[in-house]
């Protein structure tokens, strides 16, 4: 009786061919290597960006020059006075912003300056930075925001 109910096993092999596995992995690897932008700078200022509705995406990531404005991170976790950070250093002398942006525009005239400003920073400091950007003729700016939930 028992033999009667015995399952018929299919004669085919049940293995998945793994020979092409390294090729598939390599394809994925190359994709991520190409899309990766490694330089995610260490933030020296606290930035929590505000939400907005009318946001646009900026596709050309390589044109973007970030400027961070927010209360400085102090040793021990405190929040200091508002400061401006470009790349991985805090800019103490605001005239240096002009110099820096001027050089960035020489390298890439289509540069977009993305301002990542903390929500509690007073706009006075933002105006000071913007005046420097105007002097350097870096006129394309983006106020970085999150997308507001509708």
């Amino acid at each position: 009786m028992s033999a009667h109910f015995k399952k018929k096993s299919a004669g085919t092999k049940q293995e998945i061919p793994t020979a092409s596995m390294p090729d598939i992995i390599f394809m994925l690897l190359i994709f991520f290597m190409v899309t990766t932008v490694l330089r995610e700078t260490e933030l020296l200022v606290n930035v929590s960006i505000p939400p907005a509705e009318a946001v646009e995406k900026i596709d050309q990531k390589r044109l973007i020059q970030y400027v961070y404005i927010g209360p400085e991170k102090l040793e021990g976790g405190g929040r200091g006075d508002p400061a401006v950070q470009i790349d991985d250093a805090i800019v103490r002398d605001q005239a240096n912003i002009r110099q820096f942006m001027y050089r960035a525009l020489l390298d890439e005239p289509r540069t977009i300056v993305s301002l990542r400003v903390d929500r509690d920073v007073e706009t006075g400091l933002l105006y000071d930075v913007q005046q420097e950007l105007r002097e350097a003729e870096a006129l394309r700016v983006n106020y970085s925001t999150t997308r507001a939930a509708e």
Partner: protein, 184 residues
Amino acid sequence: MPLLKQRVKRDAEIPSASMADIAFLLLIFFLVTTTIDADKGIYMQLPPPIEDDQDIPEINQRNLLNVLVNADGQVLLDNEVTNVAAIRDIVKRHILNNGREPQFSLSPDKAVTSFKTKRGLPYVTYIEVLDEIKSAYNEVRDEAARQEFGTDYGTYKARLGDDDPDVIADRYPLKISLAEPDPD
């Protein structure tokens, strides 16, 4: 004969069994470090720097809508006190006025919205107001695109070729002027 060295047989192949593992490790590294999402936000064009001998162009006062915000977030729109939520509608009326009401613009392509705040205003309110002004323009463009092409402005723009003129943007140009800040 004893001088002849005996050749040791070695196989000259690189072992490739660990290849997949190495590739996996690299893959995981790039997977973790990758950030694909592009930056998003409100795109603006700053006014060019003022030269000393430059004449400031005269704008007909009725084409100019002044948005002033003080340090407490109170809004003054063409000398009338309003709140942030009301800005969008007034800006839309200003753009689409076409000379009907005397205090608003003569035509959409002449309408300018000037935006100015006190230095003490928190950035979050600055963005809120700018967002309202930009949304007003977006809604005007959306409505025009829907009437004429049956889709919203974003879809219409995506359909345009490289050399096609963007008639909606030409008709309703985005004229938001970031005013010269006060020194105080």
